[in-house]
Subunit: 88 residues, 4 copies
DNA sequence: CTGCCATTTTACCGGC
DNA sequence: GCCGGTAAAATGGCAG
């Protein structure tokens, strides 16, 4: 066996370090992607504004639609909960 | 006039300090009140559970009702927005 | 005896339903109260800001004060914050 | 020419409406994409946690890395974090 | 004790 | 260029 205890430990530290680096780089890549998508959204709003639409109103519409969809999902969840509670 | 510049400055610092203390104490008092209300809510859930109700279901119902009310409010806000936009 | 089994059951269902409604309303009332207190807290922060205080620093002070069992390091941070806040 | 003024106006309204719908759908699509990327990030954090890494520390590291113009103090904090993370 | 959900804090974006 | 408000991230608390 060629490695002393310290060397083995160093290897483990190296491996852990490499894992950490890999995870962090993956996250940073994804965050960049997310930022780009956010940029694209901003561009669409800007385009809309350029075509005379009111951004504030658009945001309200989109928020409302999201809310309605969340509402529907909740209703389904509640129904499912009742279903389970009643052993149907 | 009895005060040197330094003394006046110290007075100002003292006043600012007293203001800060007062504001912080008000906030802490309100936060305590909020915590107490949160405790009361927990108690009601505990009571409900003791009477055989399913807490999870109750939470879902309450969340849904809040969502519905938020939805209604948003719809009104949207209407109001349109109203304003059209100069009615 | 005037009630059939089904009627009695329906009564029980009605009572349970009323209990549930009552519990939910109590919780909703308390949550509203809690929201109002939260609003009051926001108002105090707004007032503080209006008087030239830094809200972020105040939040930090309050958070640190909540940790009554603050270790030495936190005490130092608190001191440093006061120092900075008062421009000493 | 077959269209009255009102009809032409209705057409314009229809076109505006279609434009608005298109813009909103584009935004909603992009927001969904953004949400999916956010989900992927959460997954990576979960994986990291599963491999024994401390998520809070990782978040701090990533935040510090984002501040490319980190001053010396931050660099020291980063070093300290790595040191703690690797148990040196 | 783990995962989920609510709350709180931070960051961003539009408006003035 | 700043302010205010709104959405996202992060932390803390609670149920299971």
């Amino acid at each position: 066996m060629a490695e002393t205890a310290e060397t083995a430990e160093a290897q483990v530290g190296g491996i852990v370090s490499a894992q950490l680096r890999s995870l962090i780089e993956r996250i940073e890549r994804l965050e960049q992607e997310k930022a780009e998508t956010a940029g694209a959204i901003r561009d669409v709003y800007a385009e809309a504004k350029g075509n005379g639409f009111d951004v504030r109103t658009m945001r309200t519409i989109i928020r409302l639609r999201k809310l309605e969809s969340a509402d529907r999902q909740e209703q389904e969840a509640l129904l499912e909960l009742y279903r389970a509670a009643l052993g149907v």
